[in-house]
């Protein structure tokens, strides 16, 4: 009981408004600092990759954003479940706030992946299982954002959105495995990412910094948007 007490307190709108304002500012600063450090590391400190040359450095953005795109969806579905059960205002705005950020992260992962793919694979896009799943994840985000914006009644929208986020979560593994199956069936380009397991320790450190920067940045964005959404609702 004591364990969940802080979370229960957080579900009260005034408490959340106060904390989210503070936390998003702090996280934004942390994100900026870590991003600066991370970029400096990525550009100057991390060694050149033996196979790919300098172009691999874009992976320091690509990998964290790709992770984030999936993590945000899982988090959004956690909030969706909470909202479906308890119907709290805070869970609704958190769930809503995560979708645009998740969509941006997915898009960023796709774009950086394409920019990395051109010099490395010689093409912007291959119909690889991972890339295709990421593209469909973007479609799922877009569909949910459309849902959030098109339904008139706010509280109904929240619950419908919660339901469909969870439906999407069930669907994502199904999509991934079907795409893997499709990929083996059509003998598509089987190009793996080279050298992930043989990273130099400087590379690992840089990747860690960049990942933390993206985490903090996304958390700041989500909290700021949730704060703003909740403020709009409280005014009514």
């Amino acid at each position: 009981m004591n364990l969940i007490q802080p979370f229960v307190r957080l579900s009260s709108p005034p408490v959340f408004l106060r904390l989210s304002a503070k936390a998003s500012t702090w996280l934004a600063w942390a994100a900026v600092l870590m991003a600066l450090a991370g970029f400096a590391y990525a550009l100057f400190y991390a060694p050149v990759d033996a196979q790919q040359g300098d172009v691999y450095r874009i992976l320091y953005i690509h990998v964290p954003t790709a992770w984030m795109s999936m993590l945000l969806y899982v988090l959004a579905s956690a909030y969706a479940t909470i909202h479906w059960v308890y119907r709290t205002k805070v869970s609704a705005v958190m769930m809503r706030a995560m979708l645009p950020t998740g969509a941006w992260m997915t898009l960023l992962a796709l774009v950086t992946g394409a920019l990395w793919g051109k010099p490395t694979w010689g093409t912007y896009w291959v119909w690889d299982a991972r890339l295709t799943s990421e593209l469909i994840l973007l479609f799922i985000y877009i569909g949910l954002i459309a849902l959030a914006s098109m339904v008139e009644d706010e509280s109904k929208t929240d619950r419908a959105l919660a339901l469909f986020i969870v439906v999407g979560l069930v669907n994502i593994p199904l999509i991934y495995f079907s795409v893997v199956y499709w990929n083996t069936l059509h003998q598509g380009a089987s190009l793996g990412m080279a050298g992930e397991s043989r990273m130099a320790s400087e590379m690992k450190l840089t990747l860690l910094l960049c990942t933390l920067a993206v985490w903090a940045g996304c958390a700041a964005l989500v909290l700021a948007r949730a704060h703003w959404l909740l403020q709009l609702r409280e005014k009514k």
């Binding site: 479609f139 799922i140 098109m150 339904v151 419908a160 339901l163 669907n171 069936l185």
Partner: protein
């Protein structure tokens, strides 16, 4: 709740209710009671919250979770009748009663319609009835509903003198049997219908944000009125499903032409492709599974678009909710009927289209089979999105955006089941995936759809 199990309540207690519309408070702490065998009048200016209160008691508004809803079986005589214009009057009457869990004997139908002055209209479609005749039919359903509590919204609208007398006599019989009623009206009911005066149990006036409940002088609970009619009503899941399927098939039978449009659409889309990319038989053989599948997806999305729309507009969903009818069963019935009406024809169209594409007969068999199984899931998901579309602007766009990611696995396994057999593999594995997905969707999606429909009704 004061009433304990085993004791019949002498009066039905309501409230306290908090009436809200669009987030604004209309009235607070609305609290009243209706003595068995009596009715109360609900008055108030336009927009004061009369209908809101009735909907709340009928279980149709958010926050109507207080005990009163489940406690008394309820019939809501609303502006929306819950009738579908395409159906025959007799069929609609029987279906409405069956939905309420009441079996009707063939012999009783004619007599009942006669009593309501609808004998001559028995074989017409509901759309051909006048507004007043609609109300008469609804009165008849209410009279046969065996519900304890009647919630009546503006009963005298559009009724002629004869129908008013019918209303009064039906209400008197209901009250004499120990039932109760709440009547929302803007004119004094007992002036129009003096025979109701002995049964008036009180007057509830909603004005401003307050409400005033006055008990009428006449209330004395007579002995024969002490027992409320609370029969075991309700309808099992299986019979709800067969009811729903039966009704959908009747609706399809009323407009049989409608089922061919998705197939025609599918046929046209498929025949566009050779014009665009050439008609070499090897090429067509390669692209056929993909094109047939994508086109079938579009056809289903188009066909299922309005699956729940008419039932929502005509208040069928609301009546089901009040009656405690399973919305999952309704969805499952609709999906099954759509599969028969849209799915099977679209799968069968593969035969003529396959010949146009110069496909070998075996490939056409596989294509048609994969579509038949895949369409079960496609239709169930489209139905789910159609239910969501009831709440949205630009429902069609939103439905497509949500549907395409969901359709990806179906598309992959569906086309794989055809191309793999062409490459000499056995048909089995992808088709078994399609079958298991079909079973899974038919077991789960109706439940999810019911949740969405509940949101729509609120």
């Amino acid at each position: 709740m004061s009433s304990s199990v085993g004791l019949e309540p002498l009066s039905l207690n309501f409230g306290p209710y908090h009436l809200q519309r669009g987030g604004r408070t209309l009235a607070k702490d609305v609290l009243f009671q209706v003595a068995a065998g009596h009715y109360i009048e609900l008055t108030g200016a336009n927009g004061s919250g009369k209908t809101t209160l009735l909907r709340l008691i009928a279980g149709l508004n958010e926050g109507s979770h207080s005990g009163s809803v489940a406690q008394y079986t309820t019939f809501y005589f609303a502006h929306q009748t819950g009738f579908r214009p395409e159906l025959k009057v007799t069929d609609q009457f029987v279906l409405s009663l069956q939905m309420l869990g009441i079996a009707v004997r063939q012999a009783d139908i004619a007599a009942a319609l006669e009593a309501a002055g609808l004998r001559k209209q028995a074989n017409l479609q509901v759309r051909e009835l006048s507004h007043g005749q609609h109300r008469r039919l609804l009165l008849l359903v209410m009279a046969k509903s065996r519900r304890t509590l009647w919630l009546i919204d503006e009963p005298l609208n559009a009724l002629d003198e004869q129908a008013k007398a019918l209303f009064a006599s039906l209400l008197v019989v209901h009250l004499q049997q120990g039932g109760a009623a709440i009547v929302a009206t803007h004119m004094q009911l007992q002036q129009a219908l003096p025979e109701l005066i002995p049964y008036l149990g009180g007057n509830l006036l909603i004005a401003g944000t307050s409400s005033d409940f006055q008990i009428a002088q006449q209330v004395t609970i007579k002995e024969k009125q002490s027992a409320l009619t609370e029969p075991a009503v309700g309808i099992s899941a299986v019979s709800s499903f067969t009811w729903s399927l039966h009704r959908e098939l009747k609706l399809i039978a009323a407009k049989p032409v409608d089922i061919i449009w998705p197939s025609i659409f599918h046929l046209m889309v498929v025949s566009m492709f050779p014009l665009a990319i050439g008609a070499q038989p090897e090429l067509l053989l390669r692209i056929a599974p993909g094109i047939f599948w994508v086109s079938a997806m579009l056809a289903v999305l188009m066909g299922a678009n309005r699956l729940f729309e008419m039932d929502d507009e005509h208040g069928v969903l609301a009546q089901m909710r009040t009656a405690g009818f399973s919305l999952s069963a309704l969805s499952a019935g609709k999906f099954t009927a759509s599969f028969l009406g849209i799915g099977i024809p679209v799968a069968l169209v593969s035969y003529p289209m396959g010949l146009l594409y110069h496909l070998p007969l075996l490939t056409i068999h596989h294509l048609s089979l994969s579509l038949a199984f895949g369409l079960v899931s496609l239709i169930a998901f489209s139905g789910l999105f159609a239910a969501l579309g009831l709440m949205a602007r630009q429902a069609q766009v939103m439905m497509s955006l949500l549907a395409f990611p969901v359709f990806v696995p179906l598309l992959i396994f569906g086309t794989a089941s055809v191309t793999r057999t062409e490459q000499g593999f056995s048909l089995s594995s992808p088709i078994f995936v399609l079958i298991s997905l079909a079973v899974l969707t038919m077991l789960t999606i109706p439940l999810v759809t019911a949740k969405v429909l509940e949101l729509v009704i609120e």
